[in-house]
């Protein structure tokens, strides 16, 4: 039995509202009393045909309106899916109006995460659009004496055998045309987007984003830019130490400050917020609050490191999950074999998106409106409804373009804060986080601790591989405390383990891990486990290649199974691009690494690094990347995503680290949490594999191999194996000096 039937409810209500029930779409209504007692959960259900038909309409002007069920945060999925709509309907870009739908316009859709937008929505979007096209063709047939098969495609419509045009605008007159399940055409439905023999007009072309001009002219596109008449300004105080309880709040002085409309205290909910007439009055009022928090025994970095230490779990021999256990694992490698072993660590990290989150919420007696940027507007809808005690369907969320998501915007906490404050003052309230709040009170990428021991034959064939690692649950990281223990009993976190399966062929293999909860809030961060896990794996592969005295590329190719043709191809392509094996000056190294993202997208990266130990200077000169993500819908967008992954990978390799002291985040702004700056960005060259395979994700694929390519380049140049990210430059220079 499916526990969560709110989706069905939602779709039904939507259909009633839009009158669709009358035209033949049916959905069963049911109501689960269990659901209302559960915490609000993210939207995880996959796209279904009954949903897809609600996404696209043909308007009386002959244009398509596309309510895109994917949020826009710079990854360009709505643009790519618009191209699919255009391809199926023979439309130009200017004839497709792509909208971010509000929660009333289309049924609930899955949160925009995991590079799934093209992967999972290409099919239903292309099918819905193709179906709409064939319905239009059938309408044209009804209105003429021709059969549908005689009516040929033409831009924006059809052409009849007599040469006469029959454009969509002549077929759709007074009301927008929608698809219904009863009109669905299945037999022989042609999906143009997938037809490689077709001269595709939209698929494969570098269309520009429909919001590009609005961005470069500074139009208000983001939640932070939203303003309502009569709007007030709110801010919520959160305790610096995680898990603190508010035990006393003296708000008398704060209330007397100029412009203060309300001070809202809910001790039970650990909530204290201030509302003022003007945003400039907020800080003065917040400063006057006298609060007493009961702080839990605070954890510092050392305690967290110990809790998330692979060696501790190895000693206790208590790994929660076994991913691979095959062949024979020996205590010691065979004496005839070459071996390598080592620890690898990566740090807690922050999303540090450029737009600190914000929301504008207007709570009225019977309905609520929310403007925010979230990767899951239907999750926000439920969170807000719960927070103010309203039914979910009375809350409308208007999703805005997101100023950087990267997994960090699944909930938009500011919307819940603004809702509570707006309800208290009965006026619209804006809550806009500052940078310090963004660093302190969002969730993080967890620390990873790995130990790998492996062996290879003297011919360079990997014989055994034992990989143990410890981190925290990521996908279920945001599950509320009261149900976390149940979740952890039944779920091995796939996000934590992402990228931990070896693409190489190894007979004797063991991969074990534990996903351990700590008080640190953890959630999705670009690529989830793929970057930390690939860093460990591809470093160890390099160590084995060294032990076998083989070229790192040759060693990799030798150990890839014949089934991994696509990974072999990107390795060979990137090696050719970077002129792998060329002579390099002293202090310069080339490193290579590759990875398969979610079993479907392939990327290989070469990095060239130069190290000057005397001047204490390390520079990533250039990064080459070859990627195979199947059919490319928009090469320009794909390249931009790969470039973003390369920059992000350099940033995590060289700079990013969140640390905790006394239960608090130690970093608060871009001076102590540095991300890669323009002058540190490498040159780059990107090669895309032309393919007609199923289109797969690009938003995170190229990230995983970047850091190990850089550290493998350092290894090549200096002989120093980097075991921790971010790279400790001092230790790299030390070894270089002794070597020199």
């Amino acid at each position: 039995m499916k526990l969560d039937n709110s989706k069905t409810m939602n779709r039904r209500q939507f259909l009633i509202k839009s009158g669709w029930l009358a035209v033949g779409v049916t959905a069963t209504a049911s109501c689960s009393p269990i659901y209302s007692s559960l915490p609000a959960l993210p939207s995880t259900d996959g796209p279904e045909w009954a949903d897809a038909i609600t996404w696209i309409q043909i308007m009386p002007n002959g244009k398509a309106r596309f309510y895109c069920p994917r949020m826009e945060m710079g990854q360009g999925a709505p643009l790519g899916l618009s191209q699919v709509v255009a391809e199926e309907l023979n439309l130009d870009q200017s004839d497709v109006e792509c909208l971010l739908p509000d929660t009333q316009q289309i049924p609930r859709f899955r949160m925009t995460v995991g590079s799934q937008s093209i992967l999972d929505f290409f099919d239903p979007v292309s099918r819905a659009a193709a179906n709409l096209r064939e319905n239009l063709r059938a309408m044209a047939a009804e209105r003429t004496h021709y059969k549908p098969a005689q009516i040929k495609d033409a831009p924006g419509g059809f052409v009849l055998p007599d040469g006469q045009r029959k454009d969509y605008t002549t077929l759709v007159t007074d009301k927008p045309l929608l698809l219904t399940e009863t009109r669905s055409i299945e037999d022989g439905l042609k999906i143009y987007s997938k037809n490689k023999n077709r001269n595709r007009r939209a698929i494969g072309n570098p269309w520009k984003h429909h919001e590009l001009e609005a961005i470069v002219t500074g139009q208000p596109l983001y939640a932070r830019d939203k303003s309502l008449p009569n709007m007030l300004y709110g801010q919520v105080l959160r305790p610096a130490v995680y898990g603190s309880k508010l035990i006393n709040a003296d708000v008398r002085d704060a209330k007397k400050m100029p412009g203060v409309t309300a001070v809202v205290v809910d001790k039970g909910a650990n909530f204290i917020g201030v509302v003022t007439e003007h945003p400039s009055q907020l800080n003065a009022a917040l400063d006057r609050l006298k609060l007493k928090w009961r702080e839990p025994k605070a954890r510092g970095q050392a305690e967290l490191n110990d809790r998330l230490n692979v060696m501790r779990v190895r000693r206790e021999d208590k790994f929660e999950h076994s991913l691979v256990s095959q062949g024979q694992m020996r205590q010691k490698p065979r004496p005839t074999h070459l071996s390598a072993a080592g620890y690898f660590e990566t740090s807690f990290a922050a999303h540090a998106a450029m737009e600190p989150r914000a929301a504008v919420v207007s709570v009225k007696p019977k309905s609520t409106e929310v403007w925010c940027g979230s990767q899951d507007p239907f999750f926000v809808q439920r969170l807000v409804a719960k927070a103010i005690g309203y039914a979910s369907d009375t809350v409308i969320v208007y999703p805005q373009r997101i100023g950087g998501g990267f997994g960090g915007r699944v909930p938009c906490q500011a919307s819940v804060e603004a809702a509570i404050l707006s309800k208290a003052v009965a006026r619209p309230v804006r809550v806009a986080w500052d940078r310090e709040t963004e660093f302190a009170h969002n969730y993080f990428q967890p620390r990873y601790s790995h130990y790998i021991s492996a062996s290879a034959t003297r011919e360079g064939v990997i014989d055994s591989w034992q990989h143990d690692f410890v981190s925290s649950p990521i996908i279920t990281g945001l599950v509320p405390d009261n149900i976390a223990w149940i979740v952890d009993k039944v779920v091995a976190d796939e996000g934590t383990a992402r990228g931990s399966l070896l693409p190489y062929q190894v007979k004797n293999q063991s991969v074990r891990y534990s996903d351990i909860r700590t008080p640190i809030p953890i959630g999705a961060w670009r690529g989830l486990g793929s970057a930390p896990n690939t860093f460990a794996i591809e470093s160890m592969i390099d160590d084995l290649a060294k032990a076998a005295q083989m070229d790192p590329l040759v060693f990799r190719l030798k150990n890839l199974p014949t089934t991994e043709k696509r990974l072999v191809k990107v390795f060979n392509r990137v090696a050719a691009m970077a002129k792998w094996g060329r002579e390099l000056p002293e202090g310069v190294g080339l490193g290579i690494a590759g990875a398969i993202y979610k079993g479907e997208s392939y990327a290989a990266v070469v990095a060239e690094v130069s190290i000057d130990a005397t001047d204490k200077n390390l520079r990533v000169n250039k990064v080459w990347c070859a990627q195979d993500c199947g059919l490319i819908i928009n090469p320009d967008q794909v390249e931009n995503q790969i470039a973003g992954n390369i920059i992000w990978g350099c940033s995590l390799a060289l700079k990013e680290q969140i640390t905790f002291a006394a239960g608090q985040v130690e970093q608060s702004n871009f001076d102590d949490y540095e991300i890669l700056r323009h002058n540190e960005a490498p040159e780059m060259e990107i090669g895309l594999i032309v393919s007609d395979e199923k289109p797969t994700g690009v938003g995170e694929t190229a990230l995983a191999p970047v850091a190990p390519a850089i550290t493998n380049a350092i290894f090549a140049a200096t002989g120093k194996r980097v075991r921790q990210l971010p790279i400790n430059l001092e230790s790299v220079f030390e070894v270089s000096e002794t070597k020199g």
């Binding site: 470069v216 450029m354 950087g404 871009f670």
Partner: protein, 159 residues
């Protein structure tokens, strides 16, 4: 007190004289193109021109800019009345620079200020001058290309 933003005069209420230029632009003038990123002058999202030079609006108080001309992203295109957009904006469109787009008004204001004083910058000069503007999506390579493209525009021949 009055200040000039995009060639228009705005009266400054007495109690707002000390607030940041950024807050004044966004919350009082209601021009939303200039973005808040860090509040400490570390990220460049709030870059505007003060008499043609790039400054961080979060680091100026409204009182500081009396007697100076403030130009925001919304006024940039008007500095080249013969075309729809400023050449830097055009180059940004041609190169499809943005991803999430949030930092881009600041990047464009920094780039146009750079080209104001150095119409034909070297790669090194671009890197140095643009390093105060963070982009988390990683559009730096395209920003480089767009600035080089804009620098070739006829607009800069006459400067």
């Amino acid at each position: 007190m009055k200040i000039v933003i995009n060639n228009k005069q705005y009266p400054v209420p007495k109690d707002l004289e000390q607030i940041s230029l950024l807050d004044f632009i966004r919350d009082t003038v209601q021009l939303k193109g200039t973005k808040f990123g860090c509040g400490e002058g570390l990220c460049g999202a709030c870059t505007v021109h003060l008499d043609g030079e790039a400054v961080r609006a979060c680091q100026q108080s409204v009182g500081d800019v009396v007697g100076h001309r403030v130009l925001t992203i919304e006024g940039l295109a008007d500095t080249r009345p013969e075309a729809k957009y400023h050449p830097v904006q055009e180059a940004w469109i041609e190169e499809s620079v943005p991803q999430c787009g949030y930092c881009q008004p600041g990047q464009i204001m920094a780039a146009s200020a750079l080209l104001n004083h150095t119409p034909n910058p070297s790669d090194e000069e671009i890197r140095d001058e643009m390093s105060g503007n963070l982009c988390r999506c990683g559009t730096y390579p395209r920003i480089q290309r767009a600035i080089r493209r804009a620098s070739k525009d006829r607009y800069y021949e006459t400067r």
